[in-house]
Structure formats: structure tokens, C-alpha cells
């Protein structure tokens, strides 16, 4: 694993700014990986052994993801919407898992660790570099059962909604009264009052195809851009 300062620089560039949460996140990931015995989590032979559950969508989560190399789209990063500054690190090979929790008291202690810095954010950033892990974090060894449908790798499960026909992957379907629905049809979604619309430049695509010209003449396009 790269040294802390190098990781922090890369993490803040990826995230968009350098902030105290970046320092906490990089250190949280370094500690988590150390505890589960992965010294180069982003390397080709270790990345498939690692799962990380982040419990907040804050700066710290980006730093954890950057440092470990886990990604939402690779299913190695799981977002648990708890609003808690914590992340769990799972070694899929050994089954060992540790939950690393950022302590609330570390915020109050920033003044003690970097008293010469007046600006609050700069003081926290510096203090979070100086604090030992024992002050910055609490750690729990935890047991995590990862359901088969949550594992990285090819899609193992697909089903179709009995109402709208939508294909639902990874067992995210809902069974109601013995029928299988997608979450939208089961009224278990974040949006409401959905109405299908058209939009300007509907036929844009990043790459022209040989068929494009013919299709444009016919007034339609024949290719799809997604799976």
C-alpha cells in the first residue's frame, strides 16, 4: 500500500478537495485493510478478496473507496445508509471482517492535537494526521454473511416483473400475494408519479454507426447503448 500522504493526495484529487474527512477515510481504509490482512487491496490478486461496507455517503466514503480500490459497480463497495461514520472491511477469502468506527471524541480532541492552527477545518485535518489510531477509531470484529446475490461477479439471478415486465437482477424483486414485482410496481421506490416522456436530441449517440445514415433517413435508429 502507498504511504498515507500519497494516498491522501490521490484521494483528495479524486474526491475534488482536501478535507478532514479525506484524512479519516484514508486512515480508516488503511487500518481496515491491515486488520483483514490485505496490504495491497487494489492489486489484481487482492481486489477480488475485498468487500467494504460504508455506512455514510460523506467525504470519508470516497476516501475509503479510493484507498481500497473498491467500487460500487464492481460490487466490492456496499453502501449502507446508516448515517454513521463507519466502514466494515471483509476478507472474502478468510471470512474475517472488522468494523472501523470513527470516534465522536476525535472531533473534540482536534484542538488538543493541533492547538497552533486557528482555522477549524485545517486544524481537524492536521489533528487527524497526528492522532493515533486508538484515539481516531474504535474497532469491532464482526461476522458478516454475504448473500450470494450480493457477491461480485456475473449476474446470477434475474427475474421479470409480473406487472411491467422489467428485468430485475440480483434478487431485488418483491413477492406480494404470491406474485413477483419489481420495486417500482411494489411501490417501494424513492420516486413517485412517474410518466414516460420524450426529450430533445433523442437520437444522439457518442459513436456514429454505418446504419446511422440509413436509419436517420428512415427517421429511426436501431442500436442500443446499454445492456
Amino acid at each position: 500500500m502507498q504511504d498515507f500522504e500519497t494516498l491522501l493526495r490521490g484521494s483528495s484529487e479524486t474526491h475534488g478537495h482536501l478535507c478532514p474527512g479525506q484524512a479519516v477515510g484514508v486512515r480508516m481504509a488503511m487500518l481496515g485493510c491491515r486488520l483483514i490482512g490485505l496490504d495491497e487491496p487494489a492489486s489484481r490478486d487482492q481486489i477480488k478478496k475485498l468487500l467494504v461496507y460504508v455506512e455514510m455517503d460523506r467525504c470519508t466514503s470516497d476516501a475509503v473507496a479510493y484507498t481500497t480500490g473498491v467500487k460500487l459497480g464492481r460490487r466490492s463497495l456496499k453502501f449502507m445508509d446508516y448515517g454513521i461514520m463507519a466502514a466494515s472491511f471483509v476478507n472474502l477469502e478468510t471470512g474475517k471482517a472488522f468494523r472501523v468506527i470513527s470516534t465522536e471524541e476525535s472531533r473534540d480532541l482536534a484542538q488538543s492535537y493541533a492547538p497552533e492552527i486557528a482555522d477549524k477545518s485545517a486544524r481537524q485535518l492536521e489533528a487527524y494526521k497526528r492522532m493515533p489510531d486508538s484515539v481516531l477509531f474504535r474497532v469491532q470484529q464482526v461476522e458478516i454473511t454475504v448473500p450470494e446475490e450480493d457477491l461480485p461477479g456475473p449476474t446470477r439471478f434475474k427475474a421479470s416483473c409480473s406487472r411491467c415486465g422489467q428485468v430485475v437482477r440480483d434478487r431485488r424483486e418483491v413477492i406480494k400475494d404470491g406474485r413477483l414485482f419489481c420495486k417500482a410496481c411494489a411501490d417501494d421506490v424513492y420516486y413517485y408519479d412517474a410518466r414516460e416522456v420524450t426529450w430533445p436530441d433523442m437520437n444522439w449517440a457518442p459513436k456514429e454507426t454505418h446504419h446511422a445514415e440509413e436509419n436517420q433517413i428512415k427517421g429511426c435508429r436501431g442500436h442500443r447503448t446499454g445492456p
Binding site: 471524541e105 480532541l109 488538543s112 497552533e116 493515533p132 486508538s134 484515539v135
Partner: protein, 343 residues
């Protein structure tokens, strides 16, 4: 795990902890000790102490009694020059100075330690001069029974820089004094600085090896410093010539003598124009004229720290600001006053 039992059912069981009795103005201490087997004769006394129920302890594998916890905490807190005995008194362990010297507290680690739930440590102020056997701190776990891991984390926090508490013995310095000023050098007035500084030095167990008088001339001041160094002095103290007047050239003399580090100005009154400089590892302290008028100045805060082996830098002088204002009381009670108590 703690199990509550009614007092009348407690006869024959062992007390889980010391039971404290307080008689205002007369006595505070354990009326009954941990492990004492409760008998019928005790019931009335216990009731008078407000006890109608007692705890029975059945420790789980991951739990720890307050007395064991206090010993783990004391062991982690105690550094060089600190003594303690594994004899908790009402769950508390006192930490004592194992030697005369300067008591030092890692105040940041202490704050982090005390932010852990269920533990505490209270200390004297950082940089207090203490005598062997003097109580400097006390620690305890707060609940009667707690998780072992919380205590071990608190102990790790206490050890983040070695230990939170230490007593450093003062070295016996060979001090060279340089008394500057034309008025003294030419005999216009009698010097009163040398006796004041000599007393402060000898009170702390060091000795004045030589006193050189110099006029307000940077070259002669520089030579006086060089003479002391040649004779083997390992601490130089210079008086006068520290302000902003054109005749005040002591700082120039110190620089000319080869100072490798100069920290001029402290956030202390009296003592704003104090200087801590170094030639290599040898400290040079420039004491402004306030040292003649005030019984206690910044020098009294810094000299013990120098003798305890601290390197005094800009931040050390700056951080004295909070608490660095002497109240000029008609009757000085230092060190039993807020002066110099920075944290």
C-alpha cells in the same frame, strides 16, 4: 455482570467493592473493604450508609472489576519517575513522584484518555515542581464492572507517546551569568541581578560557575559568553539589554557568539522580552529587567523546564499566553496561583 440483592439476603456474601463512609469534616474512607463477608452485625451500619441493596459480582469472560481496571490504567499512565502501588483504595490508585523533579503531563494524551467512557485520570498541572512521594495524579475506572476491551483501549491511548505522566529530575547545571549594562559595568549603580539569578539557580539545585559583567557592547557580551562556554558552562543566563532601546544589544551579542536558534519574546507578563537561544545544545536565557522588580517572572516558568532537559522553542513561549498574566498580588503566593498554568 452485576446482580442486585436485598441487604437482608446479603449476609454471608462477599462485598463486591469498598463501601465508602463520609462523616462531614471528620472522615472519608472505606467503612467496609471489598471481599468483606457481610454478617448480621454489619446490617445496621450498612443501612446507615444508605445501603438497602448490594451487588453480587459474576464476571463474564470479557468483563473486568474496577480494581483490576485501575491497575491496568495506572500502569499505562505511569512513565519515568512515577511510582504507584497495586493497592486500589475505593477503586482508585494514586500515582506518586518517585523522585524530586519536574512533573510533566502529556496533556493531549490525557485529554484523549479522559474522553474514553468509564475511565478518568486527574493530575497536577503540567510543569509543576514536585518532591519525591508527592501525589501527582490519580486514576480509576468509573463503573464497578466494565468491558476489558474499553480499559485496554484507554491504556493504549495513554501509551501513545510512551506515557502520560513523568517526573523528570533536574540536571545540575554549571551556569555562567552575564550581567550586561553600562550603568553596572562602570559602577554607576550596584548590580542586583546577580544575587537574584544566583538564588533561583541554586534553589533548583544547580550552581553558578562564574559571573561576568559586560557593558552594552555586543562584542564584549559575545566574548563573555565565549568565556563561559570555554570554561565548560552548560547554561548561560544573561540579564538586561533585552528591550528595544538603542543601547540594548544583548541579543546582538548572543547572535555574534554563534547562536544557532533564537526565540525572542514570550507570551508572559512579566517577561515579554524574554529570550531563549541555543548555541548547539547549550541554552542561553536572556532575562529582561522585569526580573529585578518582580519576584516571579517567565524565568521561573522556563528555568525548571530547561533543567529538566526540555528544548524551549517558539511554540513553548507562545503557548504560555493562556495563564501567563501575573496578577501582581500584594502578597505573592506562587506557585499556588494561576500564573503559568497554561492548560
Amino acid at each position: 455482570m452485576l446482580k442486585k440483592i436485598r441487604l437482608k439476603d446479603a449476609v454471608g456474601t462477599a462485598l463486591a467493592h469498598d463501601i465508602t463512609e463520609i462523616r462531614p469534616g471528620e472522615f472519608k474512607g472505606p467503612a467496609f473493604h471489598k471481599g468483606h463477608t457481610v454478617c448480621n452485625e454489619d446490617l445496621c451500619h450498612l443501612q446507615k450508609l444508605g445501603k438497602n441493596n448490594l451487588y453480587l459480582i459474576d464476571l463474564e469472560e470479557d468483563e473486568i472489576h474496577e480494581n483490576q481496571a485501575a491497575a491496568i490504567l495506572a500502569n499505562a499512565l505511569a512513565g519515568e519517575g512515577i511510582a504507584w502501588k497495586d493497592e486500589p483504595h475505593e477503586g482508585k490508585i494514586n500515582l506518586l513522584a518517585a523522585t524530586d523533579g519536574l512533573f510533566k503531563v502529556d496533556t493531549t494524551a490525557l485529554a484523549a484518555f479522559n474522553m474514553v467512557d468509564e475511565v478518568m485520570c486527574a493530575t497536577l498541572h503540567n510543569h509543576t515542581l514536585v518532591k519525591k512521594g508527592e501525589k501527582v495524579a490519580a486514576t480509576r475506572a468509573i463503573p464497578l464492572v466494565m468491558k476489558r476491551v474499553a480499559i485496554e483501549r484507554a491504556a493504549a491511548i495513554a501509551r501513545q507517546n510512551g506515557a502520560v505522566l513523568a517526573v523528570k529530575t533536574l540536571r545540575q547545571a554549571k551556569v555562567g551569568l552575564v550581567i550586561t549594562g553600562n550603568e553596572v559595568f562602570h559602577g554607576l549603580i550596584e548590580d542586583r541581578f546577580a544575587p537574584v539569578l544566583s538564588e533561583k539557580v541554586t534553589t533548583l539545585g544547580s550552581k553558578v560557575d562564574g559571573i561576568v559583567f559586560a557593558p552594552d557592547d555586543e562584542e564584549l557580551i559575545s566574548q563573555a559568553i565565549a568565556n563561559h562556554l570555554d570554561r565548560g558552562c552548560d547554561l548561560i543566563m544573561l540579564s538586561g539589554g533585552m528591550s528595544v532601546d538603542p543601547d540594548d544589544v544583548t541579543r546582538k551579542g548572543i547572535r555574534m557568539a554563534g547562536a544557532t536558534e533564537m526565540n525572542y519574546g514570550s507570551a508572559v507578563l512579566p517577561g515579554a522580552m524574554f529570550l531563549a537561544a541555543y548555541i548547539g545544545e547549550i541554552p542561553l536565557l536572556g532575562i529582561p529587567a522585569c526580573g529585578l522588580y518582580h519576584r516571579i517572572t517567565v524565568l521561573d516558568l522556563i528555568l525548571p523546564r530547561i533543567l529538566a532537559g526540555e528544548h524551549i522553542g517558539k511554540a513553548d513561549l507562545a503557548f504560555l499566553g493562556h495563564g501567563g498574566l501575573c496578577k501582581d498580588c500584594p502578597e505573592c503566593t506562587y506557585p499556588h496561583c494561576p500564573f503559568g498554568k497554561t492548560a
